[in-house]
């Protein structure tokens, strides 16, 4: 095997300034980074390794669309050591980034199609990259009808509320919002995502592609509902989560069958998932 000595250090992160921190829920914040005049080379579905010096790295999906120039956005739930450290950062602090890594949503397969987006909780973050890509003025006419169904446990757990309003006001998409449990102020739909899906969305499943992301239990029951509605496994697209370190298919921990989720995923069709061990 030829040895390429010209290559750079694949593990070296680049530091970027945090322009803005948007609080989303009690434990989720969105961080907007300034790319200093450059544009991100990522495509929707990809992720990056975020590095906090002195603490470590964590793989986080890129929630901004490549059509948003000069910035990168990450929506992060405070969960482990690194995400807690990121939550402690302030505007103008610098955060290390390397990537983008992983495959992308199959944009060419989705072009010219009707798209049904289904997200639960923080699972909207990776889908948002694709949604804003599809809704971009220059791209919108490349896709047909768009339906977005978004649900969270409670109204307080909805993320991107500032952007959901914009989507709600658009007349070229159908937007449905639901919560598992409402509160006194909540006037909208109450119900679990898979139930709301079956009750409220009537489409010809053979003419639609569905892209879903959320907590594992939500994905499981949503796929079940989609199959009951008549969706075909290749038309159901989702993303997997695994513990990752390198992001390059080398460190071994995200290995499932012949795949490395960090490199061959994180985006898989349900048809692909049916053919790999359920070890995720």
């Amino acid at each position: 095997m030829a040895i390429d000595l010209e290559n750079k250090n694949i593990y070296l992160p680049r530091l970027f300034r945090i322009m803005e921190i948007i609080p989303e829920t009690s434990d989720i914040k969105t961080f907007r980074l300034d790319l200093e005049g450059e544009n991100s080379s990522h495509l929707p579905g990809q992720f990056a390794e975020l590095f906090v010096p002195g603490v470590g790295e964590a793989p986080i999906s890129i929630t901004s669309s490549p059509t948003q120039k000069g910035i990168l956005e990450f929506s992060i739930k405070r969960t482990g050591l690194v995400t807690s450290a990121i939550h402690r950062l302030n505007s103008n602090d610098r955060l290390g980034i390397r990537g983008p890594y992983g495959n992308t949503f199959p944009i060419s397969d989705l072009t010219g199609q009707n798209l049904l987006f289904i997200a639960g909780g923080i699972g909207l973050a990776p889908l948002r990259s694709l949604i804003n890509y599809v809704l971009d003025t220059e791209k919108r006419n490349q896709f047909k009808k768009v339906i977005i169904l978004y649900g969270a446990r409670s109204p307080q757990d909805l993320v991107f509320k500032w952007e959901l309003k914009k989507w709600q006001m658009r007349d070229d998409i159908t937007f449905l919002l639901t919560v598992d449990r409402g509160d006194d102020q909540w006037k909208g739909t109450v119900g679990l995502v898979p139930n709301v899906l079956k009750e409220n969305i009537q489409v010809n499943p053979l003419e639609w592609k569905s892209i879903i992301c959320g907590p594992p239990i939500m994905i499981k029951f949503t796929i079940k509902a989609l199959l009951e509605m008549g969706f075909q496994p290749p038309d159901i697209i989702t993303t997997l989560e695994m513990r990752m370190k390198c992001g390059l298919g080398k460190c071994g921990r995200c290995n499932i069958g012949p795949y490395y989720v960090c490199k061959d995923g994180p985006v898989f069709t349900y048809q692909q998932l049916q053919n790999i061990p359920e070890e995720y």
């Binding site: 290390g96 594992p216 921990r253």
Partner: protein, 332 residues
């Protein structure tokens, strides 16, 4: 291919001249103690030469109210590495494929690899724990870029495509016709024998289809999940990366093991491989199914038997694989 033979004295003299730059694996030291020199460095495991147990990837520090990161330029001086054919295959067939992948080449590995001159010692006394023949190797396996040395009568047979890298080749005398034939016959017989015993081609897919089999539970029963096998395995390439130092420090890459529960533990608390069964199955299938399915049939195991030798509870990967292979096609 250039070949020749040298006397034992000439070979020892050459090894002595370069001894300070020689890494010798424990296996070679054990098999061929006469090739060891005082100042050559003995390593437990061949991967130590390239895939370091501890490797600093970059530095960081806090200064002027902000973080800074600095690259560490990899450097490596040219060295010789003396190993048995099985161990050498771990580099050519497995580690190179992981760390030298185009566009994702690991610069540290590449720098060390570039300066490495491989010396492969033909294996003349395989041990009961060895099984290189099952996974596509054989005791005379070599690579054209390496210097192959085989004890031959009271002398040593040498062979390489890179004579300019190994000045010992100048001392070599040409083999006469009958000697050449003898080497060819030895090789041919060995190849025929080992090819017969090689695991059948359908094994990687067959094992994959047995993912849900009950036998994995039984196989994992004895294993302690101590990870010793993965640390001494020449092909195990899984690693961890951690920040060392709070305000000033470095990102450190270290060996890791799929035998440890934390290896796959999500921050949420969910673990896709929660028990011994999943982790033992992972170690076996990664080497005998997933890696070959990805890498054109090449096994992620070279059959050196090190893991069998050192296992504190005698867990035997060869037995495990053979037990599962018997089940291929027998599923109800």
């Amino acid at each position: 291919m250039n070949s020749g033979k040298v006397t034992k004295n000439d070979l020892i003299q050459w090894l002595r001249t370069h001894q300070k730059n020689f890494l010798v694996t424990e296996k070679v030291a054990h098999h061929q103690p006469e090739l060891l020199c005082d100042q050559s460095k003995e390593i437990k495991n061949i991967k130590e030469a390239l895939f370091l147990p501890w490797d600093k990837l970059f530095n960081y520090h806090w200064e002027n109210q902000q973080w800074n990161v600095e690259n560490i330029q990899p450097s490596a001086s040219p060295r010789f590495l003396m190993a048995l054919p099985c161990e050498a295959r771990a580099i050519y067939e497995v580690l190179d494929r992981v760390f030298l992948q185009p566009s994702e080449t690991e610069s540290g590995y590449a720098a060390r690899r570039q300066g490495l001159k491989m010396v492969i010692i033909g294996c003349i006394n395989p041990e009961p724990t060895c099984f290189c023949h099952l996974v596509g190797g054989n005791p005379y396996w070599t690579h054209p870029d390496a210097l192959f040395i085989l004890p031959f009568h009271d002398e040593y047979y040498l062979e390489t495509n890179q004579s300019e890298q190994f000045d010992i080749m100048k001392k070599g005398t040409t083999l006469n016709k009958s000697e050449k034939e003898e080497i060819e016959v030895l090789r041919k017989q060995m190849k025929e024998k080992t090819n017969q015993e090689k695991l059948p081609e359908e094994v990687p897919q067959g094992l994959y289809d047995l993912f849900e089999d009950q036998e994995w539970e039984d196989l994992s029963w004895k294993c302690l999940n101590c990870g010793a096998c993965t640390y001494l395995c020449p092909t195990c390439q899984c690693f961890d990366m951690n920040a060392e130092g709070r305000l000033k420090g470095f990102q450190l890459k270290t060996w890791d093991s799929c035998m440890f529960p934390k290896f796959t533990l999500h921050a949420s608390g969910h673990n896709p491989r929660p028990t011994f069964k999943e982790r033992v199955r992972q170690r076996v299938l990664h080497k005998f199914s997933y890696f070959p399915l990805r890498e054109e049939g090449r096994y992620g195991c070279v059959g050196c038997g090190k893991c069998i030798e050192i296992c504190p509870v005698n867990w035997n990967i060869r037995e495990a694989v053979e037990r599962m292979v018997k089940k291929i096609g027998n599923r109800s």
